[in-house]
């Protein structure tokens, strides 16, 4: 009996997940919003996107994705179409058109609108049952979320079980709450950010210290002091990381020099001649490093970029001490 319950549990969890996945009743993008999205000014577009995201309806996803991929087109300034390779669908009614019309106008989306589109898509995907999708979504939302998305994030926080995603949700929520009218909420948000402590959080906290003319952007002094404390914490953490990086570079450069010196010393010790051609051996080593580095860059670019993160000098091979001559 106990075993069967254990087996049932994941299934039950799945069921709960599926239930929370059911879209809100508001549904169907209205013709008005879609037209605003396609033909409005940028401000209208962003407003329409916020409405669509807040509706939290997965049916809006194709529309948003079409906009993100430049597949949203306008016919005669009135009808908005989602165009794929071989057909066109009305974005409001979902009716399929007999053929792709020839005189379609593009929907122009600039960086700001595209950012809002990405955020809206990510907000909708926060409710996805797939962990990877949710993780990607919250990573996008981290820099793009707007205050209107707070309810969405709070709802996602309640159902989230994955620790990593939950952490990201909390920091995202905290960064949005920095603008909250309630002082204690702001202070709590700062504390959360200081605990997460990345450089982006530092930027947000720095913004609180800025002055707008003579007055601070952040009116409460208590909040400013808290922000300064948090900045100090983050700074010291960043500095530790930097020292570690420097130490690593020092050791790695030192070990290369050590190898060269050892080579020279051993040849001299064994044969009693100074090997003037020792440079060749170092050259072989340098070339091998270069080739391996390029191979990694070509076949596993992710590993390469993360390795450049931890070491302050990414062009290591180019800065070997003897290459200066």
């Amino acid at each position: 009996m106990a075993i069967s319950l254990k087996r049932l549990l994941p299934a039950l969890l799945c069921l709960i997940g599926a239930l929370s996945w059911v879209p809100d009743a508001l549904a169907k993008p209205t013709a008005d919003i879609v037209l605003k999205l396609a033909t409005g000014e940028n401000d209208d577009k962003v407003a329409a996107l916020t409405t669509l995201a807040a509706a939290n309806d997965l049916e809006n996803l194709p529309l948003l994705e079409a906009l993100a991929e430049d597949r949203l087109k306008v016919l005669n300034g009135k009808q908005v179409l989602i165009v794929t390779d071989d057909n066109a669908v009305d974005a409001v009614t979902g009716a399929k058109l007999p053929a792709i019309p020839a005189n379609l106008e593009d929907v122009v989306a600039n960086n700001r609108v595209r950012g809002a589109v990405d955020a809206a898509i990510a907000a909708l995907k926060l409710a996805s049952p797939d962990r990877e999708v949710r993780l990607a979504a919250i990573k996008t939302l981290k820099d793009q979320a707007s205050a209107e998305m707070i309810p969405l994030i709070e709802r996602a926080q309640k159902t989230e079980r994955d620790a990593k995603i939950a952490g990201l949700l909390t920091t995202t929520l905290a960064s949005l709450q920095l603008q909250n009218p309630n002082t204690s909420v702001r202070i709590a948000a700062i504390k959360t950010l200081s605990a997460s402590g990345d450089s982006e959080a530092k930027q947000l906290l720095m913004a609180l210290q800025e002055k707008d003319g003579d007055t601070f952007k952040e009116p409460e002094e208590a909040v400013r002091i808290e922000a300064q404390k948090a900045i100090n914490v983050i700074d010291s953490r960043l500095k530790r990381g930097e020292y570690a990086g420097m130490l690593f570079t020092g050791v790695s450069l030192g070990s290369i020099l050590l190898l060269a010196a050892l080579g020279l010393a051993i040849t001299y010790g064994l044969m009693g001649v100074i090997n003037m051609a020792h440079g060749e051996l170092i050259m072989i080593g340098a070339y091998a490093t270069f080739v391996v580095q390029n191979l990694i860059r070509a076949h596993a670019p992710r590993a390469y970029s993360s390795s450049t993160h931890c070491s302050p000098s990414p062009s290591h091979s180019a800065r070997l001490p003897w290459s200066a001559s």
């Binding site: 940028n42 960086n111 700001r112 450089s199």
Partner: protein
């Protein structure tokens, strides 16, 4: 006997042919108007300039097909100054004194223009300069068909500072080390200062011509942008350095949504051969984009595609691209032809007088007008974002053509300068 007679016959015929040939050659020499083309076909600027030579040749073919100018055909004289600035002056002198060209179309970099300027002034030649530049110059002998700073640089920075451009507060001024980027950045610095941007929020960097290692510079920009406040990069990098610059930008994942890069010398042609997918959203400011939709542009791009295919122009025969300096060249040569027809002469002074107020329906979608006084065109300004296919998406434009201000009001003392060339 037979052979002797035939010999006389043959030689007589040959002589007649030779005379006819000579006569026709002599007649041709008088019946054509020579047009100089002074663009680098090799060296660091070849990536940008080669196609301008072909644009001049296309426009000449077009004018000749309609019967030429003043009943004479145009004859191009193409020289290659090879991205070598002193050689530009030498070649310009050769074009004017030896080849006796009526007009020259040429130069891209301001340093090459500065190099040929004394030659054109001394020999009273006529130069049409088709590229956006830094202003601070007005010569009687030059017509500037590209943009002045107020027709490109200033609107672009205003856009970056606007809500739609991302309200940038910190700026990186990155350029190739010569007169155009240095002067433009001087103007931009003064402009930013007038908008309340602090010195500490401006970073200025220069690289030599042909520079190809942007790894450390982009790492520096990344660091600068992470120090708080929204950062934007204003690039005045010229020539083939743009390819490694944009490649590195893609490699290091500097996204347009975080740190937008707006370029003043990068168009459709420079992005050929760059993977533009990671670059989507980075910007360029010009007075023309290939993606503009209007009848004049449709005709222009169609003509260019057909010409490139017929002549087998490398790259363009498979993937024809047009860009702003090509449009400016095209406007320039047509306006010159109109002015010559109006002046009924190719004499420099008469053509200069006839140029004032010339109009042309430009592929940019507006009627471009040559200013009555200051030798610059009235042009519309467009700001485009790079799309995944290497074309530009116009995200901002002026309602109509803008009058050029070659003397930027952001440089001290310019308010006293006259908006027309000094007469000599």
């Amino acid at each position: 006997m037979q052979s002797r007679r035939s010999f006389i016959k043959v030689s007589a015929m040959t002589a007649a042919l030779a005379v006819a040939g000579l006569a026709s050659f002599g007649a041709r020499a008088e019946d054509t108007i020579k047009v100089g083309v002074l663009h680098s076909l090799s060296g660091t600027m070849a990536i940008s300039e080669t196609v301008l030579k072909d644009t001049v040749l296309m426009a000449i073919d077009e004018i000749n097909a309609k019967g030429g100018v003043l009943g004479k055909k145009l004859e191009p004289v193409v020289v290659d100054p090879a991205s070598n600035w002193p050689l530009f002056a030498e070649k310009a002198r050769q074009l004017i004194s030896k080849d006796k060209v009526a007009v020259t179309f040429g130069c891209w970099t301001s340093v090459s223009r500065k190099s040929v300027l004394p030659v054109f002034e001394e020999l009273n030649g006529l130069l049409f300069y088709p590229v956006q530049y830094e202003g601070e110059e007005l010569s009687k002998n030059v017509f500037y068909t590209g943009a002045a700073p107020n027709q490109q640089a200033i609107p672009a920075v205003e856009y970056l500072m606007s809500k739609d451009g991302g309200t940038a507060k910190r700026f990186v001024l990155l350029g190739t080390d010569y007169v155009y980027p240095r002067t433009t950045n001087k103007i931009l610095r003064a402009f930013l200062k007038s908008k309340g941007v602090a010195e500490a929020d401006i970073m200025e960097e220069y690289t030599p011509f042909g520079h190809s290692d942007y790894q450390s510079i982009i790492a520096k920009i990344k660091k600068f942008s992470s120090e708080g406040k929204k950062t934007a990069v204003i690039s005045t990098i010229n020539g083939d350095s743009n390819v490694p610059f944009y490649k590195e930008l893609g490699n290091q994942g500097l996204k347009a949504k975080d740190v937008p890069v707006v370029a003043f010398s990068v168009g459709e042609e420079e992005l050929r051969g760059v993977d533009t997918k990671p670059l989507v959203g980075h910007l360029a400011a010009w007075n023309y984009f290939m993606s503009l939709k209007n009848p004049a542009n449709a005709e222009f791009t169609k003509k260019w595609a057909a010409y490139a295919k017929a002549k087998g122009i490398a790259g363009h025969k498979d993937k024809p691209l047009t860009n702003d300096p090509m449009e400016a060249t095209y406007i320039g040569i047509h306006m010159w032809a109109q002015a010559v027809a109006k002046a009924k002469s190719t004499e420099t002074d008469k053509v200069i007088a006839a140029m004032a107020g010339q109009t042309f329906t430009a592929p940019g979608g507006f009627t471009s007008t040559m200013d009555a006084k200051n030798h610059h065109l009235h042009k519309p300004v467009f700001i485009g974002e790079i799309k995944a296919d290497g074309q530009f998406n116009v995200v901002w434009k002026t309602p109509g053509p803008v009058q050029a201000k070659p003397w930027s009001p952001f440089i001290e003392g310019n308010d006293k300068k006259k908006d027309e060339p000094e007469k000599k």
